[in-house]
Structure formats: structure tokens, C-alpha cells
Subunit: 159 residues, 2 copies
DNA sequence: AAAGATTGACACGTCAATCTTA
DNA sequence: TAAGATTGACGTGTCAATCTTT
């Protein structure tokens, strides 16, 4: 309430604070932009799209839910809800796993694949517009480099 | 379903695809990590924290809701809900705006400020652990540079 | 007992509708 | 008519509880 910032202690340098504020804004707003485009054009959330894309790349268009959850960085619970919704829209199908009876397979349907293929150009255009149009080769390299570093820590659950 | 990826068309280069996949994973997981730490330690969402921090920096700890919404990159509706919750916890107070009777002011309370100050070290430590510990000076500059570029486009509503 | 998965209750963001003041 | 703000309904994610299979 006084003039200075006891709320953002100096344990971050000036540079780091500026970078952090920028990153937070991107974290807040880039997902919203992606959601809006996909929702509007294909009635899919970004996560729906991601799930369909991962299934389409799997052999047979099929993946166990636990494997899909790991690939998509999601909890099994979240994924189960999403698959339920996608199944109601006939974009995905649940199948019994032949090897293990406690496991469940998710398979992308023809309709799901068609939906994915139809929505891909618009989504990629949005990604290009929001991100890559603005970046040169060095920027792209730097982005991957920084994100990779951050991901190594995110794989660590605890602090 | 076939062997190759009709779902991620080649309109992104190889480099861009790699960078994009990394960024998506960060977008999915970094917010989750921040939420968990703040929720666990202070029962605050990251957005709650952000709102309290912005208020604490304002003169008098007070800001109009519309100004706060703009600063926090949020809709007025979202902000109103959040302020309602924070008000119920006595971390924030709503006040009549003296100048304009249609406006509402939000003021951080002593208790809100205390909560913010108490939770700041843990939050900053998390940010440091998840992000800045891993980055050297060049990385930090690059991060800010890239995020700034992306933000210029995010300020454009339409495509 | 642990792994795989499902379900229901709860919390939060969005959207549309609404109300008041300018 | 528009700006500022609020509210309620709806969709989605999280968490804990539960069930089955290993």
C-alpha cells in the first residue's frame, strides 16, 4: 500500500521481473486466443484438439487412456471426462483393451479424423499469426531452448 | 491414422513445430505448478495473487474494477466474481467511487496485504525454481524479447 | 496393495442478460 | 446509447471416493 513493492521481493532481478511479467501475460492470454479460434471454428477446446492430434498420430489411431494422459500432460480424470464428451460427439470411441482387462483404449473415429483435418489449417494459421509470424529464426531457437529448460523442472513434481 | 501427420501440416517448419510443442507443454504445465504451490501454501489462485499484487501497488491500495480488469488481462465479469470471493474472505473491500457513481473501487485490506506479503516468498521461490534458476542472462533476455513480440499480437483482438 | 479408470461434487471462467449511471 | 458492473446458468478441471483388475 505504501510506495514500494513488498509484494515482489528483490529476489528476482529487474530483468527477471520484466521477463516474468511478460511471460505471465502470455500464459494468461495466448491460451485464451487459441481456445477462441478453435471453439469458434470447430467447437473444440485446445485440449480436445491436442487429444485428437495425439490419437491421429498413434498406430491404429488408438491409445490406452493412461498413455494418452501422459502424452497430453493431463490427469487420468480429466482425460476420462474429455473422452466421454468426445465419445458423445462420435469423434472418439472407447474400446476394451485385449491384453489387459482393466485398461481402456481410445480410438479416433473417421468423423473425428475428419474434424481434426478440417480444423487443422485454421488452428495452424492462428498459431502462425499469434506466434511464428513475429519471430525470426533466432527467436524460434531461443523459444525452444528456454521452454525445454523449463520443462525439465516441470517433470519434477515436488519442489 | 496412416503413418504421417496430416494433422500438423507442414506450414510450420520443423524448427517451429518443435518449438511449438515445447511451448504448448509449458502453457499446459507451468500454470498448474504455480496454482498448486499458491493453493497449497496460501489458498490463493494465481489470479487471486495477481489481483492482490496489482492492488498493493496502486496508490491507496485502491483501483477501479475496470482498471484492475485491464491490468490483470481479465474480463470484468471474471474480475467481479474474483473480487466477490476475496471480499468474502476479507482480503479486499468494495467501495463506492466518489467521482462516478457507476464505478466501483476495490481496496486491499490489511488482512489482504498481510496474506500477500506472507505468500510472496513462497511464490517467488516457486517462480525461481521453475523458471529462473535454469536460465542464464541471455535466456532471460530472449524470454522477455519473445514474449514481448507475442504480446503485441495478443493485443490485437481479431485475426 | 497398486494400477487403470470412472464418477460426482465442487470451484472457477465464460457468456448472455440485466441494471444503473453517464 | 454506451460504460461500469453484477448475476445466474453452463461447461470444464480438480479432487476424493470408488470399482475392477493385476
Amino acid at each position: 500500500v505504501t510506495s514500494d513493492d513488498e509484494n515482489l521481493p528483490s529476489w528476482l532481478t529487474e530483468d527477471e521481473q520484466r521477463a516474468w511479467r511478460c511471460l505471465v501475460r502470455v500464459l494468461l492470454r495466448l491460451p485464451v486466443a487459441l481456445e477462441q479460434q478453435l471453439k469458434h471454428d470447430a467447437d473444440l477446446s485446445h485440449f480436445d484438439y491436442w487429444v485428437l492430434a495425439l490419437l491421429s498420430e498413434a498406430t491404429g489411431g488408438t491409445l490406452r487412456l493412461s498413455a494418452l494422459a501422459a502424452d497430453a500432460d493431463a490427469s487420468l480424470s480429466r482425460l476420462s471426462h474429455v473422452v466421454t464428451r468426445l465419445e458423445q460427439r462420435r469423434l472418439v470411441q472407447r474400446l476394451q483393451c485385449p491384453d489387459e482387462r482393466r485398461a481402456t483404449l481410445a480410438k479416433i473415429t473417421d468423423e473425428g479424423l475428419a474434424t481434426l483435418v478440417a480444423s487443422a489449417p485454421g488452428h495452424v494459421a492462428e498459431v502462425r499469426y499469434r506466434v511464428f509470424d513475429l519471430l525470426d529464426g533466432n527467436d524460434v531457437d531461443a523459444l525452444e531452448h528456454v521452454c525445454s529448460k523449463i520443462l525439465t523442472r516441470l517433470d519434477n513434481p515436488a519442489e
